[in-house]
């Protein structure tokens, strides 16, 4: 499916979605409170069927975090990038998608571990790589570790 | 018969008489016991160590490798060096382990395998004790080893060890049946439990030839079940290094570990010896009825060579099996015993009884 057609379908699903032009995939920026319903409909709409979440990453921006979902359809082969911006850096919260994509549960734990984005409703939000007593979130730009990180 | 020129009984009798004529009967008895004990201990150690080397060489050749080749010419003293290394290692005692049982277990295992050797006739007139229930005795003492394994697994206070020990218990207790029943086939044929007369009864031809199909079947069942009883691959579930790290001897170190290790190889030697004695004629040379010239030629090879040759053949077979097959799962292992080996054995015994009754075997 072409990006334009995809865009039309998505506007029908979520009118307030913002789009970003990207050579490769169609970027959709979704408000956090609408994310869960939107992705559910992405997966369940018959001619979309975005059923395979192949990448979930968090990005640390100066004023907020984005969580980026790369979703594709194993049946039709079209892909989409869904982005969610958090509300500031203090207490970033994004709804969890573990009940839509099982793999999201663990990717979300990774994002929580390294960036500190909290996923609401997540069944088991623990650190995945670092030990539970670790202080701070290493992938944040303002993370300081004078012993282990050598600035270049 | 030509092989009788190698009869070692006069030699052993002369030693016996020498001792009794020079010492009082009590001291002579003690001296004789000590002598036999020391001979067996050395024999045990040498055989055990060289079986380890043989196994390493065999598996190396099967895997396109050379194997041990650094210590001594072609690695011949590699395992002796290993033994010294193990002797020098620290005996780690496990906190919260049951100390008495933990320390006693390796000895039970090694004594069980040690006891069995006593009844094996190595050559004509060369055996420590000639029981009239020899086969029964070997089976009885070799199954004591499982107690040691269970104790070792239990007392180590390690979860892996416990699983390994329990697996081993289930496995050895069930495979005991197949071992016994497959030996029973030859017992029915020969009508004796005494190992020396069993060997004598194969003077015209070995039981595996005389007893044709049931004996061949029983031989393979015995080798399979014997491999399982010694906890060797593909039945090495008690150790199962990819699942249980080292199974029941995970927590053992130094010479106690070496005891388990040696006992495994000695058990293998014992199983191979029994298989060679019962099915392949023990020290009896290869005789084909009606071919006198051939039989006489065979008689020139001393019985002890025949015995070790046959044992080595069975040991090689067991090693070949171990280094080819993947490991079974515990339920498949028990399935193999209860659904395959045991029914085959039972049918086999009925068939043998019929054959013996009708005289359908080569006499």
């Amino acid at each position: 499916m072409e990006q334009e057609q995809l865009k039309e379908k998505i506007v029908a699903l979520l009118p307030e979605a913002e789009f970003m032009t990207n050579k490769q995939y169609l970027d959709v920026i979704v408000p956090a409170n609408k994310l869960h319903a939107f992705v559910t409909s992405l997966k369940e709409t018959n001619d979309l069927k975005f059923d395979y979440l192949f990448c979930l990453s968090g990005v640390d921006w100066p004023n907020y975090f984005t969580v980026v979902y790369h979703i594709t359809s194993s049946e039709y082969g079209h892909s989409i990038v869904v982005k969610v911006k958090t509300d500031g850096r203090e207490n970033p919260e994004v709804p969890s998608l573990f009940d839509i994509y099982a793999t999201a549960e663990f990717h979300e734990r990774e994002v929580y571990d390294l960036l500190g984005v909290k996923f609401t409703n997540h069944p088991d939000l623990r650190r995945i790589f670092l030990e539970d007593t670790w202080v701070g979130y290493p992938l944040r730009k303002d993370y300081k570790d004078e012993i282990n990180i050598i600035e270049r | 018969m030509g092989y009788q020129k190698y009869d070692l009984a006069p030699l052993t009798h002369s030693i016996d008489q020498f001792l009794y004529s020079h010492l009082s009967s009590t001291w002579a008895f003690l001296a004789e016991m000590t002598l036999i004990g020391v001979v067996f201990l050395i024999f045990y150690a040498v055989i055990g160590l060289y079986l380890v080397l043989a196994e390493r060489k065999v598996c190396a050749f099967m895997q396109n490798r050379i194997g041990p080749n650094r210590v001594g010419w072609f690695g011949v003293i590699q395992t002796i060096a290993d033994l010294f290394k193990l002797l020098l290692k620290e005996l780690i005692t496990i906190r919260k382990a049951d100390k008495l049982l933990f320390n006693i277990a390796p000895f039970i295992v090694i004594i069980a395998s040690f006891l069995g050797i006593a009844a094996i006739p190595f050559a004509m007139g060369l055996h420590a004790i000639d029981f009239n229930i020899g086969i029964f005795y070997i089976m009885a003492v070799s199954s004591v080893g499982v107690v040691g394994i269970l104790i070792a697994g239990w007392s180590s206070n390690n979860k892996y060890s416990l699983i390994g020990a329990m697996r081993s218990g289930a496995q050895i207790v069930s495979y005991e049946l197949s071992v016994g029943l497959s030996l029973l086939v030859i017992v029915i044929y020969s009508g004796t439990l005494q190992l020396s007369t069993l060997v004598e009864s194969q003077a015209d031809a070995w039981w595996i030839i005389k007893g044709h199909i049931p004996a061949i079947l029983a031989f393979f069942v015995f080798v399979t079940a014997g491999t399982a009883e010694t906890n060797r691959g593909p039945f090495d579930l008690a150790e199962a290094e990819s699942e249980l790290t080292a199974g029941f001897h995970t927590e053992y170190s130094g010479i106690k570990f070496a005891f388990f290790f040696l006992a495994e190889y000695m058990n293998m030697f014992l199983v191979a010896s029994v298989a060679a004695t019962v099915f392949l004629g023990g020290w009896m040379p290869l005789h084909i009825p009606g071919m006198e010239g051939f039989n006489n030629a065979m008689d020139f090879i001393p019985p002890i060579v025949w015995y070790f040759g046959k044992t080595a053949f069975v040991i090689f077979l067991m090693m070949w099996i171990k280094w080819t097959f993947p490991r079974l799962r515990i339920d498949q292992l028990l399935n193999l015993e209860w659904k395959y080996l045991l029914p085959i054995n039972l049918v086999n015994i009925v068939v043998v009884a019929l054959i013996v009754l009708m005289g359908w075997y080569i006499k």
Partner: protein, 376 residues
């Protein structure tokens, strides 16, 4: 003495029999820990604990230039180092809009397929060893050596090549390149049937793996199980077909798909992939253009234009995604590596529950986990 007795009493109060498989355990193939709750021999549930060798590669990448990142990607899935290098390079080239020479594309794909075979060979060794067939280990390594020699001849290293750089290759391949690969294919075609005789046909092996750890297609998609493990369940996830890259669009090849999704078919998928990879190699070698151009024109300092770039590559274990967020500097603002093993690991609990502990080893072996790829 009294202390010891107390402990025995305490044990009874804990009805769960939990064993820790790992961090040092022969069948986890690295520092991974499975917290396994057992009932007798049966697995009740399993919790994977990872992170023992987390090195923070993503964080390190943020302070390295793009050519420097390449050598870190070697150390993700060290058995498919070439594909990892290729993924980052392709992503950078995509961002810069550089078209690499045709010949480079072919060489990259040829090396990828070689690396895939080498990786599957090592997996075969390890899988055989997991099941207790130690001899497999040496046969597999013996044949893998031939591939490593080809790599050493051309790239200079055997395992961690760092051979692909943004814009092309580090240097040209060795003049013997084509011939040595053709020799290898001839050699390996003869020996691969031996693998089947030794292990695949074996009745013990069949019983150990058939109908074990069945993964449905839905589960595979839902958990994001890619690579041969996913394809054994019928999930057509081969990136070489879905989003063709390098020289894969130029040739025609078969995607190995099974629908059974049990351990045996995960095994079979990989074995078939080795055969298919050899076919691909021959096709690529036939079509590979002559010449000696091995790199496109690149600026000495690579600066990516502002934006976000994503590249998917099929490694030996599944789909590797590289997500670069650039702010126009010579270092990436954020570099996310979507590694296949990270997703593949977490299906373990679903697959193993209710099976025996020996099956756990077989299932984890069939998923072909490489721990540095999980931990990054």
């Amino acid at each position: 003495m009294s202390e010891e007795k107390k402990v025995i009493v305490e044990l009874d109060e804990n009805p769960e029999y939990i064993i820790n498989m790992g961090p040092q355990h022969p069948s986890t193939h690295g520092v991974l820990r499975f917290e396994v709750s057992l009932q007798g021999e049966t697995v009740k549930y399993l919790i994977p604990h990872c992170g023992y060798i987390h090195r923070g590669i993503e964080k390190m990448c943020e302070s390295l230039t793009y050519p420097q990142i390449i050598h870190l990607t070697d150390r993700l899935d060290y058995l498919s180092a070439h594909m990892n290098n290729e993924a980052v390079s392709l992503c950078v080239e995509k961002a810069l809009d550089i078209e690499v020479p045709e010949r480079v594309k072919y060489i990259r794909s040829i090396l990828s397929e070689l690396n895939r075979i080498a990786s599957h060979q090592l997996w075969w060794c390890a899988f055989g060893m997991d099941l207790g067939g130690l001899t497999c280990f040496f046969y597999g390594l013996r044949d893998r050596e031939k591939i490593l020699d080809i790599f050493e001849e051309s790239c200079g290293s055997r395992l961690l090549h760092s051979f692909v750089v943004p814009g092309g290759l580090m240097h040209d391949v060795h003049p013997n390149f084509k011939q040595s690969i053709r020799d290898f294919i001839k050699y390996f075609r003869k020996l691969l049937p031996e693998y089947d005789t030794l292990l695949t046909g074996n009745v013990i092996f069949q019983n150990r793996t058939r109908d074990l750890g069945i993964m449905s297609k839905e589960t595979a998609i839902n958990y994001g199980i890619t690579g041969p493990s996913g394809r054994a369940s019928g999930f057509a996830c081969d990136v070489r077909k879905v989003e063709p890259y390098s020289a894969y669009p130029y040739i025609d090849f078969k995607e190995i798909l099974y629908t059974e999704g049990d351990t045996f078919h995960r095994y079979k998928a990989r074995m078939d992939e080795m055969w298919e990879s050899m076919v691909i190699l021959e096709k690529l070698l036939d079509k590979m253009p002559d010449g000696n151009d091995y790199t496109a024109k690149m600026k000495p300092v690579i600066k990516l234009p502002e934006g976000e770039y994503f590249q998917r590559v099929e490694t030996a274990r599944g789909e590797l995604g590289v997500y670069i967020v650039s702010d126009g500097n010579k270092t990436p603002y954020r570099l996310k590596l979507r590694t296949p093993n990270f997703s593949n690991l977490f299906v373990m609990n679903k697959l193993t529950a209710g099976y025996k502990i020996a099956d756990l080893v077989a299932i984890s072996g069939s998923l072909d986990l490489v721990i540095p790829d999980i931990d990054r």
